[in-house]
């Protein structure tokens, strides 16, 4: 599988603080890759290195086949090294984007289009389409200084798609949006990916990543804690899973029968309900159901709480924090 972003031992320090620490990130072409981490985890710093706004202290970055930085080994020559052409295929929307207030929305897109080397014909076709796509029709000739935060976010998405990019990098795209705007942004991201564009989206919102991403990297304190498909990362959860059972009439026989199952580690009874802790992440509801029925119980309701990204995230980040404090 082709990689559109590849970092090797990427490290960035701000004085004594290591914002990104030997990060190895791999983003596959065609994926919607979520970059998940708490505030201050190093997400924005990593993205700024990828788009050329910051230089790494160590490690390498390859974006769309272009080697961007050579670390400190290049010394003074690094000043003169800038692969502006590598950005031809990248669309980037910064966190809380800020655009020149003196420009109109359509002027901004026109000027940025020229910077991408788009012809007049290409700009004439692409700009109205994007303005409609992000819902700014009728406001495109207003000065950006008069745009609300949500509208600035929308024009930010439009400018990120202007050059028909092969890689779109969105840094916290939902930040500052109302709930309706957040849903719209998620739909937009899905639509972008349907056109075959790779989307790399950073977020601290677990449900957002869970809803739109195919792959995910979890980062904390500048280090990747997990990086794989969403499904595989969600399966990383260790520790007890839970099954909730409600029976018509609770009895000691039922409790003993459940306890006798080899994968059950603990059973808690509350009225006609049982919370069963199991040591496996496989679906064992059939075996539990059979045992309860054999013990004379009638099952009214049963559910197994499967691990989700939130559980994995909390577990990985907590473990990481514990490890660092020890």
């Amino acid at each position: 599988m082709e990689l559109v972003i590849e970092t090797n031992n990427l490290t960035k320090r701000y004085g004594a603080l290591t914002a990104v620490n030997k990060l190895n990130l791999k983003v596959q072409r065609g994926s919607i890759h979520g970059f998940l981490g708490p505030n201050g985890a190093g997400k924005t710093t990593t993205i700024k290195i990828i788009v050329g706004l910051l230089r790494p202290d160590e490690g390498t970055v390859k974006v769309l086949g272009h080697e961007l930085h050579g670390g400190k080994n290049e010394g003074f020559l690094q000043t003169f090294r800038e692969q502006a052409d590598s950005r031809l295929g990248i669309g980037y929307m910064p966190e809380l984007p800020k655009f020149p207030k003196h420009l109109k929305g359509s002027e901004l897109l026109d000027i940025y289009g020229r910077m991408y080397g788009m012809t007049e014909q290409q700009r004439k076709e692409q700009i109205p389409k994007l303005i409609e796509m992000v819902g700014l029709t009728g406001r495109e000739n207003d000065l950006i200084g008069k745009y609300s935060k949500g509208m600035q976010q929308r024009i930010g998405i439009a400018q990120a798609l202007l050059n028909s990019p092969e890689l779109v990098i969105l840094d916290e795209p939902s930040l500052g949006l109302d709930p309706v705007g957040m849903v719209e942004v998620r739909e937009l991201v899905k639509n972008i990916a349907r056109e075959g564009i790779t989307v790399f989206v950073s977020s601290h919102l677990l449900f957002e990543v869970e809803q739109i991403c195919t792959d995910v990297t979890i980062i904390n304190r500048g280090t990747a804690l997990a990086s794989d498909t969403l499904q595989n990362v969600s399966g990383l959860l260790t520790g007890p899973a839970m099954i909730h059972v409600e029976v018509a009439q609770m009895s000691q026989n039922i409790i003993n029968a459940v306890k006798s199952l080899p994968f059950v580690s603990n059973v808690t009874q509350t009225g006609n309900s049982l919370i069963i802790q199991v040591t496996t992440h496989e679906d064992v509801r059939t075996q539990v159901s059979k045992e309860i029925t054999r013990a004379g119980g009638i099952i009214v309701d049963m559910s197994q709480k499967t691990s989700n990204l939130e559980d994995v995230f909390i577990q990985l980040v907590s473990k990481d924090q514990e490890g660092k404090t020890q």
């Binding site: 272009h66 590598s86 295929g89 980037y92 910064p94 984007p97 020229r114 080397g117």
Partner: protein
């Protein structure tokens, strides 16, 4: 399906450069401060033209275009044009989307510089035309108007010394306030230092090598060539400043009196009455050429500093 980077044709440099020029020009033209300064400059030229007529001064200067709004206006135009050209992008956060477009920082820097050059030259051209036409209206037909473009070029070079200094301060500090205050402090410091050195020291020649007014002296009109008309030479034309701020005037003087000399003097304010002490004499040609060389040296050095700081800047905002 989107084109991959390998399939994408590499656009030529020039349209991308023009895109940044356009971006910068729109910013400058719509800047309220800039519009304010231009209006103020026009007001000053108007007053400058109207006052002598108001006081019934019936002089007919042979070169009215050397209007005396002063170097401060040129400095202020330089200041508002570039004080936030680079630093303002950092302060407002607009540097982030700008530098993530496929234009190199060197292209952005050159385009911003070019836009500043165009803005300044257009503003001066309009001011000079206004002043020249105004001079004709107030004083009647003027002589030597063919030298107006020379004065304009000289003033643009003078202004660009300050443009380079202000850009360098803004680029290093990433603060428009620092760029504005730093430029202003240097401008005032050189004006004061020039006045003090010109009063107390015999080393006024050193002022030729710092930005600003330079040494002062008197144009030796007795030595000018015989075939140039001498009537209606105004007193102000005899007073010469040798520094980088006066390239326009000195170029005009050199064009008119190529073999003239300048007596560099200082005024001893401690003697009673204050007396003028002559320090040395040099040709107007040397003064004009040296001030251009010094100006270009400062322009190149400070533009290099500004470019280097911009190129090395890490975008933490």
């Amino acid at each position: 399906m989107t084109a991959t980077n390998r399939e994408r044709p590499r656009p030529s440099w020039l349209p991308r450069f023009w895109a940044v020029v356009r971006y910068e020009m729109l910013w400058n033209i719509r800047k309220k401060k800039f519009i304010g300064i231009v209006i103020a400059a026009f007001a000053l030229v108007t007053v400058d033209l109207a006052l002598p007529a108001f006081f019934n001064v019936s002089e007919n200067p042979d070169f009215a275009a050397t209007f005396s709004v002063g170097n401060l206006v040129f400095f202020l135009i330089a200041l508002v044009t570039v004080m936030n050209s680079i630093s303002g992008e950092f302060e407002s956060g607009t540097i982030v989307p700008l530098l993530t477009k496929p234009v190199s920082r060197t292209t952005v820097f050159l385009a911003k510089l070019f836009a500043a050059f165009v803005i300044i030259i257009v503003t001066y051209t309009v001011l000079f035309i206004y002043s020249t036409v105004g001079g004709i209206v107030v004083y009647g037909p003027q002589d030597n108007l063919q030298l107006v473009p020379l004065a304009l070029i000289g003033n643009v070079i003078s202004t660009f010394v300050w443009v380079a200094i202000i850009l360098a301060i803004g680029s290093i500090s990433k603060s428009s306030l620092f760029a504005a205050l730093g430029g202003l402090v240097l401008f005032i410091a050189f004006v004061f230092a020039g006045s003090i050195i010109a009063s107390v020291s015999n080393e006024a020649g050193a002022l030729n090598y710092v930005p600003g007014g330079g040494a002062t002296g008197a144009l030796n009109v007795a030595q000018r060539s015989q075939n140039i008309t001498i009537q209606n030479i105004t007193v102000s034309m005899n007073s010469i400043s040798t520094g980088t701020d006066n390239i326009g005037t000195n170029l005009v003087n050199y064009a008119r009196y190529p073999s003239a000399t300048v007596n560099i003097t200082r005024t001893d304010v401690f003697s009673t009455p204050p007396k003028v002490i002559q320090l040395y004499t040099e040709s107007i040609g040397l003064i004009a050429l040296r001030s251009i060389a010094v100006a270009f040296a400062y322009i190149l050095v400070f533009l290099f500093i500004a470019w280097f700081a911009f190129k090395r800047a890490q975008i933490l905002e």
